[in-house]
Amino acid sequence: MTRRLLYILLLYLAVGMQISLATPLPGLGWDIDIVLLFLVIIATKVGHGEAVIWAVFAGLALDVFDPSAMGGCIVAKSTAIFLFGVLSNALNLEQPTLLAVTIFILTLIDRIIYRLFSPYSTQFGWAFLRFDLPSAAVTAIAGLIVLLIAIRMRVFTPRTVEE
């Protein structure tokens, strides 16, 4: 129970940071998906079934800011985390580099799904190359840094290291 309260608080902070600190970089329009990073970390801790529920809450919290595309973030985040579960069952995803590549792919999937729900008409290919791809790369790099720090601080221990 205490753990879940802590996660609620952390999710709240992650969404708060996403909407305040992680605004798109000026001139570039790229942003780090802090909420997705948080959900990936949660998924490694609580299992994928529960992580999908957290993804629904996180998606709803983000959907609030764009009522016209409401539901998009729920589907995007929960799908990304569900896929993370599928992939992590198949691969040893706790290796930081592999996990960063996975985060890159998940961010891309998340963004593509959200664009499908968004009512704004943009050129899909151009937006994908101009914003989604760089944002996914930035998020993956940020995720790698966070993982390396977490490993150094012994907050996150990859299975290979444990063995």
Partner: protein
Amino acid sequence: MVTLIDFIKRHSGQVMWVLALIIGVLLSQAPFTVKSAISGALMDTIYRPFDYLSGAYHTFKNRRVENLQLKEELISTRLKIETLKEIERENLRLRRALGFSQRLEYATVLAEVVGRGNPRMPGSIVVGSGAKQGVIVGLPVIDEHGVVGKVISVSDNTSVIQLITDPNLKISAVDGRSRVQGIISAASGGKLVLENVPVTADIRNGDPITASGLGGLFPKGLKIGLVSRVMVPQSGLFSKVEITPSAKLATLEEVFILFTGIAGMNTDSVAIDTISGDGR
């Protein structure tokens, strides 16, 4: 029923994902008013702290800008106050000078000091009054405390004043108390020395020294300074008397040029007051 629960437990990830898809799709297909209502309700509750923080941050940012503007205004106002204080001090000084000039028996020109410390003439200052104000070479110059020097060069709007601390200027002087006479000349350290004073003369520290008027240039009675030290030699006929000038030579800002009536006199004929080493 048990089978369904087991299925959900075994495939929780898939079940949750399907539920999430259903919720997401349902929400996306909901009327805009419903979406707006949900959005508004959540915004008003869970995001209020962030809204508050964001507001506080912007307020802080605005206050910072405002603070900087106020600091700039403060500096500007302080400068204005300092300027006004300086004007006030100048006003007071000029009022005192005006009162002083009215007490003098001679016609005067109040001249502002516009330059000093000419390397070629360290014992001189330049004032902003010249021939156009009637100034001519040889006129004595004083401030409200005592003798400053004499005019040695005049142009249309400026004049050069030879200070009493210039070694080339010598003034005939008298002890105001004992009436012992001597010749004032410059000494080191901004001091003056009264020379040709017999060792037996009655001179004490603190005695006022005034112009004797014998030279004809400086009117009799003009204060020159105060005796600060009497040096009696072991052998010899004359003692040296150190004088501290009364005029505030280091901080002169305005001086009075006295029209004593001797202007235009042939300076060569003036006895002591015009003795100068460079022939001026």
